[in-house]
Symmetry: C2
Subunit: 547 residues, 2 copies
């Protein structure tokens, strides 16, 4: 058995190591175009920013280890240029001496990854415009960031853009982010990242949302970025992070089936339309586990698992890839945003029916010092309660709650199951009713019909149509800020003032985070009023209004 692997990072490296563990006899050749196989690409922004001080830390599995320990025939600076499916060979160019040669395979694994998108903007190839894909890119940006640069413009506010912003601020640079969407971190829903946007700004990052670069012009060692809005930003350099496209050229020329967005189509064993060719990692189209639709999610975890599964299948194993959930986290200075499953915007695009709730719990018991607030959004099927997705932002414990809900999605659980989840509790670690339980309680109340909810984007039209908006917080809270048009009726005296409420109009109640609003909803419902609670209360309103 001779296995040829094209690409030696995440998916390719995992496939190679797994293949060796399954077969001592196999000949395993890994072609890596760059200098370094198996490097930690997710660490590069932190190396550029200095949080990771030593470059060698990024070399997860050095060449010598792959060769000696795993007996892999790793050939670096070797570019695979073509696949001859008929004869089962690949054409390889050695980048050091420009020699080309053929290499035969029994099974071929494509792990070519995804390349940074470079849109056809005038001047995009100017000096001073960088992308970040491999260690050589990281070296360049490290040199620039530590070489006296004072400012940077980052185009694109996805994972890499946000992480680069933090790290360039850490280096003392003045950083501006330009993002076409009207929010940072487009995989998340807009209202969920407003705390992240505030935090970026208060950390010194200038945001230009809903704007885009229309031209780059080199000017005396600087770059002038012309924006669609007409503004011009003069900067020392530009980081372009507007997304990636599957590096599918080899597969395309070889006639393998591709998906709509260019990802190589694979079956659940990671086999392409040619059963002797597998593809893994960022180059493939994957199936979303929640929607069962095709998608493109370039993440390291799935890439590693897919590599393992391709190797398994080559050696007759039954493991298969179950699809991608899109579980992700990103640190933003001392905050974090995490998500799993589908966002509201993707559900809307797919035309799927959903309901959602918001909660704003502390990350551990509120009575223990250091409790940090988080905001958690849970999205679910309105009738069954099946969990469709979740998003969280905060300072601590955000990744934990999303990991827990990721498991619930993997198990196809519903929100009623989250009520019953039994999670670690001691005051430094959580609450007797963990945020996950709380989300389950609230969502289950909605599914059971005990707790009708309404959302921020419905408030204005409801009030205009005659709905009465009641703020059930204290007078003091109300006086410090409330939703326009609301009347104040504190919860503790609500029962004594039912007569003063209209019983011929719908009512929306709200409090600060939704708890008192829920209780008010229960009181009013049982007294014959038509009432809904604003999910997440005034805190959700602030996130919505600031978005």
């Amino acid at each position: 058995m001779k296995i040829v692997i094209v690409g030696g990072v995440a998916g390719g490296a995992s496939a190679a190591a797994r293949a060796r563990r399954l077969s001592e006899a196999a000949e395993i050749v890994v072609f890596e175009r760059g200098q370094d196989p198996s490097f930690a690409n997710c660490g590069m922004p932190y190396y550029i920013g200095g949080e990771i001080e030593v470059r060698d830390k990024l070399l997860v599995a050095p060449l010598s280890l792959l060769r000696e320990r795993h007996r892999l025939d790793v050939r670096i600076r070797s570019q695979v240029e073509a696949i001859d499916r008929q004869n089962k060979t690949v054409t390889v160019r050695s980048l050091d001496d420009n020699r080309t040669y053929q290499e035969s395979y029994d099974q071929l694994i494509l792990a070519t990854g995804a390349a940074p998108l470079k849109p056809p903007i005038p001047g995009i190839d100017s000096t001073g415009i960088y992308t970040l894909r491999d260690l050589q890119d990281a070296d360049q940006l490290h040199a620039v960031a530590t070489g006296g640069a004072k400012s940077a413009v980052i185009v694109g506010a996805g994972f890499i853009g946000i992480e680069m912003a933090e790290n360039l601020v850490r280096r003392g640079l003045a950083v501006t982010i330009v993002e076409l969407a009207d929010q940072v971190l487009p995989p998340w829903d807009k209202e969920m990242v407003t705390p992240i946007e505030s935090h970026l700004e208060s950390s010194g990052v200038a945001l230009r949302l809903g704007d885009s670069a229309t031209a780059f012009t080199a000017k005396e060692g600087h770059v002038v970025v012309t924006l669609k809005s007409g503004d011009q930003l003069e900067t020392d350099f530009v980081v372009l992070s507007v997304g990636v496209r599957p590096e599918n050229q080899l597969a395309k020329v070889a006639g393998l089936d591709l998906g709509e967005r260019g990802g190589v189509k694979v079956n659940r064993y990671m086999q392409t339309s040619d059963p002797h060719i597998y593809a893994v990692g960022d180059v493939v189209e994957v199936t979303d586990v929640v929607s069962s639709s095709a998608t493109q999610i370039p993440l390291a975890g799935p890439a590693n698992r897919q590599g393992r599964i391709a190797a398994d299948h080559i050696f007759g194993r039954e493991t298969y890839y179950r699809g991608t959930q899109g579980t992700a986290v990103v640190g933003v200075f001392d905050m974090a945003a995490a998500m799993t499953g589908l966002s509201e915007k993707v559900l809307q695009r797919l035309g799927m029916d959903y309901e959602k709730i918001y909660i704003h719990p502390a990350h551990h018991a509120g009575y223990y010092p250091g409790a940090q607030p988080m905001s958690l959004k849970l999205i679910f099927e309105p009738t069954t309660g099946r969990i469709l997705g979740a998003q969280a932002v905060g300072r601590q414990g955000v990744d934990k709650r999303i990991d827990v809900i990721a498991m619930a999605i993997q198990a196809d659980m519903n929100v009623l199951d989250l009520e019953e989840s039994e999670l670690c509790y001691a005051p430094q670690f959580g609450s007797a009713k963990d945020p996950v339980n709380m989300a389950g309680f609230v969502a289950s109340g909605v599914v059971r019909g005990d707790h009708p909810v309404v959302h921020c984007d419905q408030i204005l039209s409801a009030v205009q149509a005659g709905t009465v908006l009641i703020d059930v917080r204290s007078e003091k809270e109300f006086s410090e800020g409330h939703i326009a048009g609301a009347i104040n009726q504190p919860i503790d005296s609500l029962r004594d003032n039912l007569d003063s409420l209209p019983n011929d109009k719908p009512i929306i109640v709200y409090c600060y985070v939704g708890m008192r609003g829920y209780l008010a909803t229960r009181i009013l419902l049982q007294n014959g009023f038509e009432v809904k609670n604003l999910s997440g209360g005034y805190k959700s309103w602030r996130m919505f209004a600031d978005a």
Copy 2:
């Protein structure tokens, strides 16, 4: 509907609040023997230690809130002394004026909790011997700890004992723990808490394991604790934390069915043998979800859920209690131990078949600064891979991994599912192959037969019976410490030295954490050797040998 609830903390308070949300019309009377309903009992050690500075923080739901917001008829310092099931009344003694009276009920909920065990040791009622159950106990211990005491002896190394040790050290006291078992934290398996024991000792706590108190003697304002070993400890005061017993007296006298350990028997709706009487919280016997056997697990999370479920059932709801997993966490200075499901010792006691693996991963990507080691033990059915339990110790991220595995147990997943779990990854938060995935990989290898493992307690007898023990680490690592009787054959040159290995004897390989040992196992298996890997490697060996 008139609901009477006996006990106003966790389970009772949850039942009362839930009942009110379900029915505005219900009359809800809560009898609380103490001064404070709904206080944060899990926070008391941290109040005594000063981490929680203000006592009021422990009053989660003040009396006024329960009365005004929830319109609960809460009667404090009111002890329920008897139940008349025939007439559906309880006899209540008002502790302030010693008056007794009858109160009728339609539905009764017993949330009487569990009382600290006080074994019949001579002198146990001496001055200076404290237990910790309610805020008055906390007040006393707070006064003692801040009143000039210099030393304390803690009898019992369970949750409360360990938390009190940390907090009294924080107050500057010299603390000694006496524990009958040969380990601290008896719910965990012995080898898993050896890092906790070292950490306690290096933090200044003296441990007397496998010893017990046989007498307490008051002596000039001090207490002399006589131990079974014959030693005597003179101390300023004693904290007795040797466990709790269900406070079942009311139920017992009323003729309700009790379990073997004294817990009130309930069905899945939390109904006792009298359908008009429910019981919730530490007083009930619960079903363990993994073993389906009866058990007694006094934890706050389950108590809260049970209270909610009892109220639900009173109002005709279909929710039911699914059983207890025993998910728990305890902080020990800056370390933590967490667990979910069954321990190995409980599995042995129940006679259930199991296999286990150990891993020792970093809590986030090793290449990112601040990665902390953790040790994780996963226990599963040998053939199906069904997850039976997990335990973890470390400094960071321990609660997260146990929460994730708790969800897997709730969903009745197996170890193959953990391979496929898609969890948050960015270098500050985890790894592309999260510790949970790694545990899944290793355990799945065992279940699939790819990866035969052996455990520390089998090494000695195996070597005596002729098994060859091979340390596949580097010469340097070997020279710094290895298992007696091992020979050193570094992994990278293993393939070149197969001829020197015995092919007529079984082999056990090991490395530092089990990864290189796994690779060595794969190499040797495929070359016809009979080989097993020491799960968790030399690091597991150290934990075992130190235990």
